[in-house]
């Protein structure tokens, strides 16, 4: 069957099996920023925005998502032009391994959209569908509070991300630690 999505601001049509989740469809088509952590909706690593709401894409049937507006991490900022929430995470040293982070950032974006000036406790509660094993959450919470200052209550614009397959990091040697901005002009 075909799934139609308004994905990161672009109309896209994908082929999908009946049993596919939204996460399956996204990952099969190069949107690998959403991670597979449990397939039961328990970890939040696959969080994306569906019609503006943070959802665990592994438990959203692809068929149900058809017609929806979906934002993945690829639809926020780029390495050279980070979204304020991404920027705040980097500046707060809020991530270590980073596997939970695309989901955590999208959850934070949704949280700040709903509550632009959250308290620390509200941030902790708001992030509680997303697990993190590395950080103990402290710096993540600080990053979200920092982001709320940066965003200044304004809405969040998606800039239409690029698929991973278009990036130069993917190739035979993508296993290294190549940084796209290693030339030094983007930090």
């Amino acid at each position: 069957m075909n799934i139609e999505l308004e994905l990161n601001g672009q109309s896209r049509t994908f082929e999908a099996k009946k049993t596919d989740s939204l996460l399956d469809v996204l990952r099969q088509n190069g949107y690998t920023g959403a991670k597979r952590g449990c397939d039961t909706g328990a970890c939040g690593f696959c969080t994306v925005l569906v019609d503006g709401e943070a959802r665990n894409s592994c438990v959203v049937p692809a068929s149900k998502a058809s017609g929806a507006e979906v934002t993945t991490i690829e639809g926020l900022g780029t390495q050279r032009d980070l979204h304020p929430v991404q920027r705040a995470f980097v500046d707060s040293t809020a991530l270590q391994c980073g596997f939970c982070i695309p989901g955590m950032i999208l959850r934070s974006v949704a949280l700040l959209e709903e509550n632009p000036d959250p308290s620390k406790a509200e941030v902790r509660k708001g992030l509680s569908d997303n697990l993190c094993r590395c950080t103990g959450y402290k710096k993540i919470v600080e990053a979200v509070l920092d982001a709320s200052d940066r965003i200044d209550g304004a809405g969040v614009a998606a800039d239409g991300g690029t698929r991973v397959e278009n990036r130069t990091t993917v190739g035979e040697d993508a296993g290294g630690t190549t940084s796209d901005c290693a030339g030094g002009d983007c930090r």
Binding site: T32, G37, L95, S128, R133, V164, G171, A174, T178
Partner: protein
């Protein structure tokens, strides 16, 4: 190698070592360390070290551009997917296996059983350790002799995971079931079901006695503890403690893609902490030359020791050899809990002889460790139960440590952050607290009277097994850690809640770890200069999300005198990066970091030679800073870029500026932690709330303070989990009860206590720019500090983890009736 001969464990002493003469140790372990001039920089002299540059991989991680192993699947159009058939019984033998239906299914490319040609039949250990591994070779890639629910029996490769899973379902297995044993105390008796015959294990470890399911026994002593117990002026205390089977719960499941490249060599893209060990172990197991295996580590979603092991790699390799297709195996979350690895649950007994005035005359720990069905990391982890906590109290004259490591029919355990130290630290730090209370001593003073200080010769670490060796203490910030931790938690003035049924208490615990396995580490690095004055830095060191790549870059930038942005790290690819033992034992910054420093220093020497020629000034008049070489005499300068072009395209002579560094050491300096836990307990229900955790850590010079704080906070969070959650539980049939994150007590942001981390800077002269390790030591301290805090608040002692309201309530009821 003779099967019966206990092998050397590669420097991790497993038997008591006789005390060496003091004169020799003065020479072997001098207090004054001959470090390079630039190694000890005052804060204002540092250009990159102890700054907070952005973590190297953060931008690609926050944008989703970074690829973990499974994210690279789309590079392989021919990729097939693996699933594993695992034992449904805890102990027995597969007497018949029928794969006919599975093989006949559309989309199935291979069904492998223990007898299949590409499946190795040799014994090995999954422990990713030095060679020969100090772990027994007791397991097989696929086995018909199953020892836990989850043991791999057969493997399938199919077009997609659904088909592979269906094929696994279609395999028929007949078992002969044996009696099984789940309890380590029962297992350690002569009439318990026996997991291994003597012939079943190669590379046996010291103290094995398989007739009683014991894979190893270790012992170490300093002085005669019995002599102290017999004295009339001492109080002898004995306490017993129990720890949980903690899951690494690494967010990225164990995942490997295996394929054959165009040169007919085997390549594995894999989520590992130990690329070089994995390459060697695969080569041995599959009888493939080491040179024909390439192990590449992409971004890794956490390891915590769970990936200091070759857990899944052999299965996709066997499948790719059988199918001639690239194969990906991605463990399910359920498999992560029942078929990967976990922390060794232990029962630990502590005993001491202490005089009325608080002088500790003897300290003793005994551990009974449940290694589960196989013995990976069994002996070395148990060794650290003694070898990490006991040396902290270097003033104690008599020390004894002993451990038995036994098999049961539960999933096998492995390395996990802290590596035995959390179990020993719970027992020792809880025990000292009880002693202090009983003798009416200050719990901090009794520790301070006996703990390490600069200049101490630590004889204990080397005789307890584990990762230690005799060492001189050259940096120690314990006093400062205690002082600042006390201030931050408010030790001296805590307010009791107004409600009568609520009671607040603060508990303390100290800890020491090591920095690398003493005498059993190697790291290497190469740095290549580009024409534009930038560098490619090749390091074998393994960044599993810790920020190691960033630390390498900062160390190189400091040494070279340039901006971090001019350095591009290329790490952890056995074809293209120098050798490294891998990310474990808190070694990476220290061992691999020193190799990076040496490589950068080597490159800097060549840069200065070129600058000397170009500026026509002697080398000793030249310094580097901000990507330039300048003369301290004339003030003239030349940029790295000018040197880069001249060195490669010069008219008269040309050279590619390369720096090399290889580093190993006998040293393993301890980092220190002082932990404080502030808790409020409801005496009516036993419910408790952790108001705050404070932990002050001496990690030498923090190369990147933000990353170091992150390590400390994450470690404390993991320690908190050890204190308050059940971990992986096993039912009476040997089935793991935790099937998902929902079943596991993984604490969310709103369920986690506030954690304050404090960096106490010292200078460790053996470390790169004064650094020692940071990531393990704060894992050890929360369970004892919390147990001590609850004891302080309501007077009851919880010794068996996890600490629960029910246990507190029951003890409170016991004391009031």
């Amino acid at each position: 190698m003779s099967e019966d001969e206990p092998v050397s464990d590669g420097g991790t002493a497993s038997e008591p070592v006789p005390k060496t003469e003091t004169v020799e140790t003065e020479e072997e372990h001098p207090l004054e360390w001959d470090e390079p001039d630039n190694n000890d920089l005052a804060p204002e002299e540092r250009s990159s070290v102890s700054k907070r540059p952005e973590k190297q991989d953060d931008r690609k991680l926050v944008t989703g551009d970074a690829t973990f192993t499974a994210d690279q699947a789309r590079r392989f159009p021919q990729l097939v997917h693996a699933k594993v058939l695992r034992s449904e019984i805890p102990n027995g033998r597969v007497v018949d296996i029928d794969t006919t239906d599975a093989e006949a299914m559309d989309g199935v490319h291979a069904v492998l059983t223990p007898d299949s040609p590409t499946v190795p039949d040799g014994k090995y250990t999954s422990a990713g350790q030095s060679y020969p591994e100090p772990s027994p070779w007791d397991m097989q890639v696929l086995t018909d002799r199953v020892r836990y629910v989850g043991d791999p029996i057969a493997a399938v490769a199919a077009e997609d995971t659904e088909t592979a899973a269906a094929a696994v379902e279609a395999i028929d297995v007949d078992y002969e079931e044996y009696d099984y044993v789940l309890d380590p105390e029962v297992a350690f008796s002569e009439d318990a079901p026996q997991l291994f015959g003597d012939d079943d294990v190669e590379n046996k470890i010291v103290g094995h006695d398989y007739s009683r399911n014991r894979m190893s026994h270790i012992e170490g002593r300093l002085g005669d503890v019995e002599e102290a117990y017999d004295r009339e002026d001492v109080h002898v205390h004995e306490t017993s403690w129990e720890t949980i089977r903690q899951s690494h719960a690494n967010v990225e499941p164990h995942t490997t893609i295996a394929y054959t490249d165009e040169d007919d060599r085997q390549v594995l893209i894999t989520s590992t902490q130990v690329p070089n060990h994995t390459r060697r172990q695969l080569a041995h197991l599959f009888d493939i030359p080491i040179r024909d295996i390439r192990v590449k580590k992409p971004r890794v979603g956490g390891g915590f020791g769970g990936k200091q092991a070759m857990v899944v790699e052999p299965i996709p390799l066997a499948l790719t050899l059988a199918t001639d297709r690239p194969v990906m195996y991605e463990a399910t979350r359920e498999e992560e809990f029942y078929a990967m690895r976990s922390r060794h649950p232990m029962q630990v007994r502590a005993r001491s002889a202490v005089t009325e005035d608080g002088t500790i005359e003897a300290l003793e720990l005994y551990a009974l460790s449940n290694t589960g069905a196989y013995g990976s990391h069994g002996m070395t982890v148990a060794g650290n139960v003694g070898a990490k906590p006991l040396p902290l109290y270097s003033k104690v004259p008599r020390i004894h440590f002993e451990a038995d490591i036994v098999h049961t029919n539960v999933p096998q355990t492995g390395a996990m952050r802290g590596y035995g130290a959390p179990q020993g630290t719970l027992a020792l730090e809880g025990h000292l607290d009880e002693v202090a209370r009983d003798l009416d001593l200050d719990p901090i003073e009794i520790r301070q009277d006996h703990y390490m200080e600069i200049g101490d010769l630590d004889e204990i670490a080397g005789m307890m097994g584990g990762e230690g060796a005799e060492r001189r203490i050259r940096s120690c910030g314990l006093d400062e850690c205690v002082k600042r931790g006390k201030e931050a938690i408010g030790w001296d003035d805590i307010d009791q809640p107004e409600a009568d049924h609520l009671h607040r208490g603060i508990g303390v615990a100290l800890s020491a770890q090591g920095t690398g396995v003493a005498g059993d580490e190697l790291g290497a690095a190469q740095i290549m200069m580009n024409e534009d004055g930038s560098f490619h830095l090749q390091v074998g060191g393994v960044d599993i999300g810790t920020g190691a790549d960033t630390a390498f870059v900062q160390i190189a930038a400091e040494e070279l005198g340039c901006d971090e942005r001019a350095i591009i790290p290329k790490t952890s690819d056995t074809d293209n990066t120098p050798f490294d033992y891998g990310a474990y034992a808190s070694s990476t910054t220290y061992i691999s970091g020193r190799a990076v420093k040496k490589a950068a220093s080597d490159a800097r020497d060549r840069i200065l030679e070129w600058a000397s020629r170009m500026l026509e000034e002697p080398v000793d008049a030249l310094e580097t800073e901000s990507g330039e070489v300048y003369s301290t005499v004339s003030g003239d300068s030349v940029t790295f870029e000018e040197i880069g072009y001249e060195s490669v395209y010069g008219d008269e002579t040309r050279e590619h500026i390369l720096g090399k560094g290889s580093f190993s050491t006998e040293e393993s300096p301890p980092p220190f932690a002082a932990q404080f836990a502030d808790v409020t307990v409801d005496e009516r229900t036993g419910e408790f709330e952790v108001n705050k955790l404070v932990v002050a850590v001496d990690c030498g010079v923090a190369i990147n303070p933000g990353m170091a704080e992150g390590q400390i906070e994450g470690a404390n969070h993991m320690g908190y989990e050890m204190a308050v959650t059940e971990g992986i539980t096993v039912d009476e049939d040997g089935h793991v009860e935790v099937e998902s994150y929902d079943d596991y007590g993984f604490r969310t942001a709103s369920e986690s206590p506030p954690i304050e981390s404090i960096l106490v800077e010292t200078h460790e002269p053996t470390g790169p720019f004064g650094a020692k390790s940071v990531a393990e030591v704060p894992t050890n301290t929360v369970p004892p500090a919390l147990s001590n805090a609850i004891r302080e608040a309501v007077g009851v002692r919880i010794t068996e983890m996890p600490i629960t309201a029910e246990k507190i309530r029951t003890k409170l009821d016991d004391t009031t009736t």
